[in-house]
Symmetry: C2
């Protein structure tokens, strides 16, 4: 059996996943599953896999949500969970420049769930499906003795597939919406300690919480000049790090240009925290982070530029500091 962990300094026999982390693990899996087939345009390691078809390009993305790891049923309604379940998959397809077509929803359901709960979950899935013209075509349901498990696969299609690996030095770095809202929303939600049943009374605080519970996938219609793209699920530093890794170049961010919502600024002030920390490292915003020539016409925020090597941020005093591609990563401790 060939060892796929040749990238790692330790023998696989004693390696704990906490040492290599999620992205180390993905790297290893990718090394083993390398495909040389010409029909596979992008495989493991991007937002979605892309496969050539005569019709165009097929896109496939998959996400698992596990109770206790990804969500807490005391803090989310089933409707909100269903919405988010499909939303994060749609975001992956948008991040490849594609359009979402078909969704396959797999559910592992614990005995404590009532059929009404699953009904509500499907209401959330169906509402966002309608909004983005996605059709639910199948799935798997089974019982689970380990809490609720949601596993979704979204099939999309596209003409021009945009990967993470094609950014060029000199490109501008853009982001489609304010960052850090979702991380602050999660903090507020945990502090409140209970579900939010309705967002009709739309206070700034509820807006932040909604960004966490019911993210709205970001779509860019004209992608002709975009050179690379990813959605911000793990936080700006880490997701930008993915683009740099895959494109083998570096990045420079201007912290003053990183968009922060008034709601996040206000809540951070109240809590005595730096809103920028949320914007740079907070996950699950599901904004699109892309690179393109600096002069393109776009409503997105330009936050920096791609450089030959290294990861740097220029703070509000004009000081240039290196940063690490860190954010939320599974397994790492």
């Amino acid at each position: 059996m060939p060892c796929p962990y040749s990238l790692c300094p330790l023998s696989p026999n004693i390696m704990q996943l906490s040492k290599i982390g999620e992205f180390g693990l993905i790297k290893n899996i990718r090394t083993r599953c390398k495909n040389s087939s010409p029909d596979i345009l992008t495989g493991i390691g991007d937002d979605a896999a892309a496969v050539k078809t005569i019709r165009g390009k097929g896109l496939f993305t998959s996400d698992i949500l596990i109770e206790g790891t990804h969500f807490d049923l005391s803090l989310t309604t089933f409707y909100q969970l269903g919405w988010k379940f499909l939303a994060i998959n749609i975001s992956d397809i948008f991040a490849m420049g594609g359009r979402p077509d078909y969704f396959i929803a797999g559910l592992g359901i614990p005995s404590a769930c009532r059929s009404r709960d699953i009904d509500e979950l499907y209401s959330g899935i169906l509402d966002i499906a309608r909004k983005f013209n996605v059709k639910i075509i199948g799935g798997d349901t089974c019982s689970s003795e380990r809490g609720l498990v949601l596993s979704g696969t979204l099939i999309g299609s596209g003409k021009k597939i945009i990967t993470r690996s094609t950014a060029r030095p000199g490109d501008g770095i853009f982001v489609t919406k304010t960052l850090g809202d979702s991380a602050m929303g999660l903090e507020l939600l945990k502090k409140g300690g209970k579900k939010v049943q309705s967002f009709s009374n739309f206070t700034p605080r509820l807006k932040l919480i909604k960004r966490h519970l019911m993210p709205e996938p970001a779509l860019i219609r004209n992608t002709s000049r975009i050179t690379s793209m990813i959605d911000t699920s793990d936080g700006l530093f880490l997701d930008l790090g993915h683009i740099c890794d895959e494109s083998h170049i570096g990045a420079l961010i201007y912290s003053d240009d990183v968009p922060v919502s008034p709601a996040l600024a206000a809540e951070a002030k109240t809590a005595g925290k730096d809103p920028l920390e949320f914007a740079l490292k907070g996950g699950e915003d599901y904004a699109l982070l892309f690179t393109a020539p600096k002069n393109i016409r776009t409503r997105a925020f330009r936050i920096g530029e791609m450089i030959e090597r290294g990861l740097y941020i220029i703070d509000s005093d004009g000081k240039k500091k290196p940063f690490k591609a860190e954010g939320y990563e599974h397994f790492k401790k």
Copy 2:
């Protein structure tokens, strides 16, 4: 919110999933997710979803395996689990008359897992992938606080898609291999109380256990005269019941014609049990169960015929008895 549970006698508010069972749940989900789009050839409720593409027909199937529900890590190696994980998805594509192309493997990994375990799991996935020419194109890895979760989506393609809904009265009922081996294998495995590390010493008993741990998907190359098909994952009675349900007709089985392996017969005798019980109700054989004109040339076993209505079995004394479409079903108690 429209109530999707109109088929059920009770209000959804008080309905427990244990009352409606897995197939009741699927029926409800299907009612809600009804697609009227002409590009969807089969949606929820078959072995795989089929979607029209200019290239031909795209097939999509998804399966979740949850520790504690679907597998027990004290009774299976990671290698065997990886094999089975992809095998059951391949079986679903074969059951639609398609060929498997691309696999997306999602893993929810508990902290107790070592990287070597995941390596072994991938060895199992990759070995069966090579055998059936499947390419691994992507997936999702995340940590799980609730045990190991495997979620796979297999993408296939086919020219003639064979559903469960097109059997006709008068068709013969065929099955591609002996039934009940897997259920007996599981019983032997549980009785042994430990993993089987190697199948090189290939005793009849180990053969049964292997049918459970590392099922071999069954493939029929010439499907031109087949009228309906399913793979036997829930047991003959239940899976044949699915064909009858979807085709709105009945079935008659001759118990003497149901193929039982010598190994199962011997083990059942030792245990003082009826091997036919295993063959009729035991799950996870992953044989193909299909209907076709009675006179077709095939190496498959003919076990009965489709009739206008009702489910009947003729026992070895020639007595005709009704049977229920029962076997393994999630949620039901």
